[in-house]
Amino acid sequence: MRKAGLDLRRLAAIYAGGVLGALIRVGLAQATPHGPESWPWGTFAVNMVGALLLGYFVARLRDHPEDSVAHPFLTTGICGTLTTFATLQLELFEMIDAGHLGLAMAYLAATLGIGYVCVRAGIGLERRPRETEA
């Protein structure tokens, strides 16, 4: 079990990362307004970038000590908060509700497919230099 003091430091790091992640995501959403008939570029961009960064940070910080604040700040804080699941579902619901089923299917397929590729690419970005050294 971790000491309470360490948990508070982790919580504070996650809070700080969450403030940044939320401001970037909402800022981008405000800058790219869209209706149910168009591609939600703001949500799509933060989800893809967040997936890429999370893969990279998790691989990069794998050997860091458990109580380091960099890990919770970057992963659960920034990446977790920069990306969103509920907004993705609402956008899909609004597309289907407005009769744009094809757009909804394309948006879902691109989000899942490219999102998965982004996580793997993020992990790969970190691993590559070490493997060539070995």
Binding site: G17, Q30, C79, T84, A86, Q89, L112, G115, Y116
Partner: protein, 121 residues
């Protein structure tokens, strides 16, 4: 958006991230099973809440603070995908499909139910 609304987005976003961590940790401490039940529960609860808020026709800065700042921050896409990737790497292929399928199907039902309830309010 007023400066105060942006401050509110940041403050509730940080709180939502901390809440996600605490809830996920509570789930993780109760089970050694590899299935990411905490993130699934968080994403589905947040999706239901967003349906309610959208259906209730909350608008303007209040909508941005609650939907974008709080609920958008509480739920997560990146962790969901990374957890699925980890399950696949560990050979739990059936759990990957369960994690993706439940999130999408129950998530869509949650947004529709929330929207319907919110409209009825």
């Amino acid at each position: 958006m007023s400066p105060g609304a942006w401050v509110a987005v940041g403050l509730v976003g940080g709180a939502a991230a901390a809440a996600r961590f605490l809830i996920d940790s509570a789930f993780a401490s109760r089970s050694d099973h590899p299935f990411p039940l905490g993130i699934l529960a968080i994403n589905l609860a947040g999706t239901l809440a967003l349906g309610l808020v959208a259906g209730a026709a909350l608008s303007g800065q209040a909508l941005v603070i609650v939907a974008g700042g709080a609920i958008g921050s509480f739920t997560t896409f990146s962790t969901w995908i990374l957890d699925s990737h980890r399950l696949a790497e560990a050979g739990h292929t059936h759990l990957v499909w369960l994690n993706v399928g439940l999130s999408l199907v129950v998530g869509f039902a949650a947004i529709a139910l929330g929207h319907w309830l919110g409209t009825a309010l």
